[in-house]
Every structure is written in structure tokens, then in C-alpha cells.
């Protein structure tokens, strides 16, 4: 008796998967962040050097610099730039899809310039008057409001400025804080806008002879932290020294991408055809689980917000290879067992169990290699390792477990009993017990 319920369940699962993939494949593929080599864009690697001898470049300085660069990138209007710290003193900036590289370069390379001005836009203080890394976000002792505190190099200078300001009438006694004030900007114009270019404007009612300045405003905690980082970056006199740059024209990148995708599709189609021709019915199962594998890898890849580059594609190919390999190892084992004269059911059981140990060891060793590459590697090597780790884990889920569940339903249904041909085994090859 063939248990039709199992087969029905199989088709139900497959239909469910197919619908899920069909519905989600477009948004998932369009969500994949393409690296510069596939999309075109601009990449620079900076070496961070202190401008004054004796200053040190520490993690804090690097973090503040990336924040400042991020701010800068936002003004260019690039979505999702990648700004990474590498080693002790390097920052890699990747701007995918940037057309105007020259202005991007200029905006990036000029340090964060903080100025404090009066309402007539005259400079009162600038970034060089701030103590290095002297800004921090905190809460007001009385009101519990998020505030930003600054430390100045010279308290007397600030006292004089605030003394002068405090004598002005309301609305003119303001300390206006600007980040990257450009020729032509003005407080008068900006204050009417909903999202003014200046950071804050605080009124001064009394002279403050102190080195510690507090900025109050309607800030959220997030905003104050952001502001503090920017101020630190702005006040940080780092030199950004360009040591590597590369640009990929949009059309070249696009061409590379199109060709790579087409080539990938041809390759996968060949794999599918081969698997079905050689392994027959299990080959069909392999095709189903491989499709699920490719889809899931991309979903997880997107969830990690990773960027797909050529090395990433290399890892994806290796992953496909390992997923196919897991299927091949299992099916070969099952075939061997069928040939020794076992029933389909026990051949499937024994074959599955024995092949699992093999796949496990093979994948763990590759996982170790990937883990080491991730830990010790940088940039491309690390990106490769991430993709490889995802591939191995997902192939375990789909090609090992998924394949087993799906094929198991058919084996349990007893439909395959007496049908060794479905496994690509000829009757003449089976030893009589």
C-alpha cells in the first residue's frame, strides 16, 4: 500500500516553498547590496595620522573620525556608504554608485570643521579651540534632559566671548554652532528652515568663565551622542592620508554584474540538469533544496547587511558546490546500499546515517578554515569568510536536513519500494541477498 498522505505532504511543502520563493525572490534580490566591483563606485583607503606630533590615534579617535566621515558622506547624499576601520590607523570608505568622485574626494578629505559663530556669522571659536576628545553626551543634573558637554582649551577666552554676548538683546545673544560652515551660509536664512544646517543655537544670558560648556536643546539621547561624536571628530586634528583608491565606472560595473549573473544562472542550470540526469528522483529533490539554499543564503546575507563582491560570489560558488556535494555523498551512499540488496527503506536509512558523518567532518573542517580567515583576515578575505560561513551553515540546513525530510516522505510512503530505477540503480546491479 502506498501511503498517499506522505506524498501529498511532500507536494504541499514544495508548493509552499515555491510560493514563498516566487513571492519574495524579487525583493530579496533587489535588496542585495552590491559591492563596488559589481555596481560601480568609488573606494578610498585613508591612513589616519595625527596632525600634531605627540597626539595619538586611538580607537576613540578612529571612531570619531568615522562618524565625521559619515556626516560628510551624508552631505554627498550617498545611501549606505561603507566606512570601516582597518587595523590601528586606517579607514576604508566605499561609496557605491557615486558619480562625481572629485567632489566626494574633497568632501571626505577635508576634516570636520566645527565653528561657533554669532548671529551675524562671525567666527567666535572654531574646532581648534576644543580639547581633543573633550565632548561627551550626558544628562542635565537638574532636568534630566539629554545634553552635550564640551571642553575648551581656554576658559578665559570663552568667558570674554560670553560676556560680550550676554550684553546683547534676546535673539541676538546666541552661540550658533556650525559644522562645515560654507561661504554663503547664514544664520538668518537657516533659522527659518525646518531642518537648519547649524547644529544648535544657544542663548547666553551671563558670562561663563569656564572651560566646560553645556549645549542644551530639544535633543534626544541619540542626537546628543551623535553630536558629541561629531564635535570630537570636528575638533580632532587628524590627517587623512589617501593610500589607495579605486573607481569602477557604473557601466563597467553594471556590465560585470549582468555577465556574472547570467553566467551564474547558466552554471546553476547545468548543475540542475546534471543532477537530475544522474541521480534521477533524488536529483529532483536536490534541485529543490539547492533552490532553497540559494534563496536562503541571499536572505541571510541581506539580513546581515553584507555587501556582495566578487570574492563573495566565489564563496557562494563554493557553497553551492558543498551543498551539491552533500547531496551527492548521500545519494551515492544510498545507491551503494541499494546495490547490496537492501530494501529502499533500509538503504535510505543506513546511507543517510553513514553519509552524515562524512558531510559533518568535511563541513566542520571548511568551517574552521573560514573561521580562521574571518578572525585573522581583513577586507576581502573577511568578506569571503563571512559568505563561506553562511553558505556552510545554510547548506547543512537545506542540503542535509531538508533533503532528508523531503526524500524521507517518499521513502516512508513506500512508493519507491521496488523502484530502484528512481535512484538510478539498474536491477542487474543489485546483489541478491
Amino acid at each position: 500500500m502506498v501511503k498517499k498522505g506522505r506524498i501529498a505532504l511532500f507536494f504541499f511543502i514544495v508548493a509552499l516553498m515555491a510560493t514563498g520563493i516566487a513571492l519574495l525572490v524579487r525583493p530579496v534580490i533587489s535588496d542585495v547590496n552590491l559591492g563596488l566591483d559589481l555596481q560601480g563606485g568609488f573606494e578610498v583607503l585613508y591612513e589616519v595620522e595625527p596632525i600634531n606630533e605627540g597626539d595619538t590615534i586611538n580607537d576613540e579617535a578612529l571612531l570619531s573620525t568615522t562618524t565625521a566621515l559619515n556626516e560628510r558622506v551624508n552631505t554627498i547624499g550617498v545611501s549606505e556608504p561603507t566606512i570601516q576601520i582597518e587595523g590601528d590607523n586606517r579607514i576604508r570608505v566605499q561609496l557605491a554608485g557615486v558619480q562625481d568622485q572629485e567632489s566626494a574626494r574633497e568632501i571626505l578629505a577635508t576634516g570636520g570643521e566645527l565653528t561657533i559663530r554669532d548671529v551675524d556669522d562671525n567666527i567666535l571659536l572654531d574646532g581648534s579651540d576644543l580639547t581633543q576628545n573633550g565632548s561627551s553626551a550626558s544628562l542635565h543634573a537638574d532636568t534630566n534632559q539629554p545634553i552635550v558637554t564640551l571642553t575648551l582649551d581656554d576658559g578665559d577666552q570663552f568667558g570674554e566671548i560670553t560676556q560680550e554676548l550676554s550684553q546683547r538683546p534676546d535673539n541676538e545673544n546666541l552661540l550658533v554652532m556650525w559644522l562645515d560652515f560654507e561661504e554663503g551660509d547664514s544664520y538668518e536664512e537657516e533659522r527659518l528652515k525646518e531642518d537648519p544646517k547649524f547644529l544648535s543655537a544657544a542663548s547666553v544670558r551671563q558670562p561663563l568663565f569656564t572651560r566646560n560648556v553645556m549645549i542644551e536643546g530639544n535633543f534626544t539621547t541619540e542626537e546628543t551622542r551623535f553630536l558629541a561624536e561629531i564635535l570630537n571628530a570636528g575638533s580632532l586634528p587628524v590627517d587623512l592620508n589617501e593610500i589607495y583608491s579605486t573607481s569602477v565606472g557604473a557601466s563597467l560595473g553594471e556590465q560585470a554584474m549582468k555577465q556574472t549573473v547570467n553566467a551564474g544562472l547558466i552554471g546553476v542550470a547545468l548543475i540542475f540538469i546534471y543532477m537530475i540526469m544522474y541521480y534521477r528522483f533524488p536529483g529532483v529533490i536536490a534541485v529543490i533544496t539547492l533552490s532553497a539554499y540559494t534563496f536562503l543564503v541571499l536572505v541571510i546575507f541581506n539580513a546581515l547587511n553584507a555587501v556582495l563582491t566578487l570574492p563573495g560570489i566565489a564563496a557562494l560558488i563554493l557553497g553551492v558546490g558543498m551543498a551539491v556535494d552533500a547531496n551527492i555523498i548521500t545519494y551515492e551512499r544510498v545507491r551503494e546500499e541499494i546495490k547490496t540488496g537492501k530494501s529502499i527503506k533500509s538503504a535510505y536509512k543506513v546511507g543517510g546515517r553513514r553519509s552524515f558523518a562524512t558531510i559533518f567532518d568535511a563541513n566542520i573542517t571548511t568551517l574552521i578554515a573560514a573561521g580562521v580567515m574571518f578572525y585573522f583576515g581583513t577586507s576581502s578575505v573577511q568578506g569571503f569568510a563571512v559568505m563561506l560561513i553562511i553558505s556552510i551553515l545554510v547548506s547543512f540546513l537545506t542540503a542535509v536536513w531538508g533533503s532528508r525530510v523531503l526524500l524521507g516522505l517518499w521513502v516512508d510512503s513506500k512508493f519507491l519500494n521496488k523502484r530502484p530505477g528512481w535512484f538510478g540503480v539498474k536491477r542487474g546491479e543489485i546483489d541478491e541477498l
Binding site: S251, L252, A263, A314, V324, T358, S380
Partner: protein
Amino acid sequence: MSFNPEKWNVDLTKHRRKFFVGSGLTVIIGIVLLFTMGLNLGVDFESGSNVEIQTDEPLTQEQVLADFEAIDIDDSYVPSVTLGGDQSQNASARFVDEFSQQEIALIQSYFDEKYGHSPNISTVSPLVGEELAQNALLSVLIASVAIVIYIAFRFQFLYGISAIIGLLHDAFIIIALFSLLQIEINVPFIAAVLTVVGYSINDTIVTFDRMRENVNKEKEINSFERLAHIVNKSLLQVITRSINTVLTVLFASLALFIFGGEAIRSFSLALVIGLVAGTYSSMFLCAQMWLVWEWKRLKKIKSKPPKQPEEEYI
């Protein structure tokens, strides 16, 4: 499409000396090549600038050189220009100097105006590419040690050593062939080598797994022929799987090589070479090395007289 290699009357272990000598010679030739011809390091590894020009019409070297002369760039040094694409619509010019930002801007606007495509310009100080390569090498070496430890724990120390030799062999073959063919080495090439390393170790472990299983089935192995027979049998048992796996992965990499475009051609070529080398080394190097070493080890154990418990002498 079914064949049964187990019934083949082939002795793969008999020819092991030829495999060792062949691979040894290949490695020696590779080392000689590296020292004489060296590697054609791309701009990723050497200081300088690279300008990739794209047009809709065929280009000639003279034309490109004339273009650079026209913008008065780097007149002390004539750049090396290579043409690519189906009808030479792509050109790549290498300069030993690192361009300044002004020079880059100048080149970009000039070619954009003239050919309607903005060229790709990379400048690099050699430090960065070298660091990446060193880093990749270091990672592979540390990974090798970690893998040996894992295999020694799960299998046996000798399996680990032979697997790692196979892995290094495969990576080296790619590098040697790229030296012979003088194909430019860039960052994606490193990714290709890493991929092959991953594949090689995967493939070797599958082969070893079957050898271990068959060895464990035997009660006692008392002759070299017996051990060789077990290894041979294991190889024949996994050969279908090895061929099918490498074929499917080759489909993908060959498709990338043929249809994937200029940008990844050298990358996919490295993959194709490495995958074939990886399958070869698993069966014909790693397994055979293990066979020889394992037999030496067994012989040593046997030749040792069994230890007498000390109590007897008291």
C-alpha cells in the same frame, strides 16, 4: 548513466611513485618559474596607477598613448597599454606613478568627454595589496594548523598532515600556472585561491572518511598490500562522488569563465585550475601519502617488542 567503479580492476595505488614524482617535479618547476618569470602582479600589489578606458569603438595602443600625451600626464614614462574586449573597446594603461587628485580629475574629464565613458582609475601604494596577500597567506597557514588539530582529533595525525600538504599543493599549482601564463594577479585571485583551499580540504576529508571507515572494518592489517588494497577500494568507492562533485562545481566556474566577462576571467580560470588540482590531489596525493606513512607507522609499532610489565622483575 550508471557505472560501477568498484568492480573496475584498476590499481590506483600501484602508480603512487609516478604521482609523487610528477607532483614533486611540478612543484619544483613552479618554484623555478616563480624565481625566474615571477608573478605578474596587478596594480593591487604594486605601487602605481591603473586607468581602464572603455569606449564604444575599437581602440588602438597608439591612440591611447596619444590621448595621454594630449593631457600631458606623466611624460617621463610611457605607460604600458593592454587592449581587451571583443573588439578592443577596453584599454588598460599602467603607470608607475601614483596620480594626484588633480591628475585623476583631468584624466577622467578628458576621457569622459572624448569617449563618453568615465574611465576607472586606481592608485595604490604597494603596502595595501601586499598586506592583503600576506594576511591571506597567514590565514591559510593558521587555518592549516587548526585543521590538522581537528583532523588529528577526529581521525588521526597522519590524515591531517597529508590533507594539509594537498591543500598547499593545490594553492601552489594555481600560483605557478599564473606565473607560467603571466596572467595578472589581483585581489579576486586571492579569493579564488581561498576558495580552492576550502574545496580541497572538503574533498580530501570525504575521501579520508571512507578510508578510515574501511580501515576500521579490518581486524588486522599485516601487509602493505592489504593496506594498499583498502585504500584502493576506498578510492574506487568514492570516485563517482568525486567526479560528480568536481563536475558540478566545474560547470559553475566554467560558466563564469566563458560567460562571466573580462572582470572575472582570471578569477574563474584560477577556480577551474584549482578545482581540478584539488580533486587530483585528494585521490592521488593525499590518499597515497597517507598509505605510505601509515604503513611505516604500523611497521614501527609491530617491530617494537611488546613491553614487559615491570612487576615481573621484582
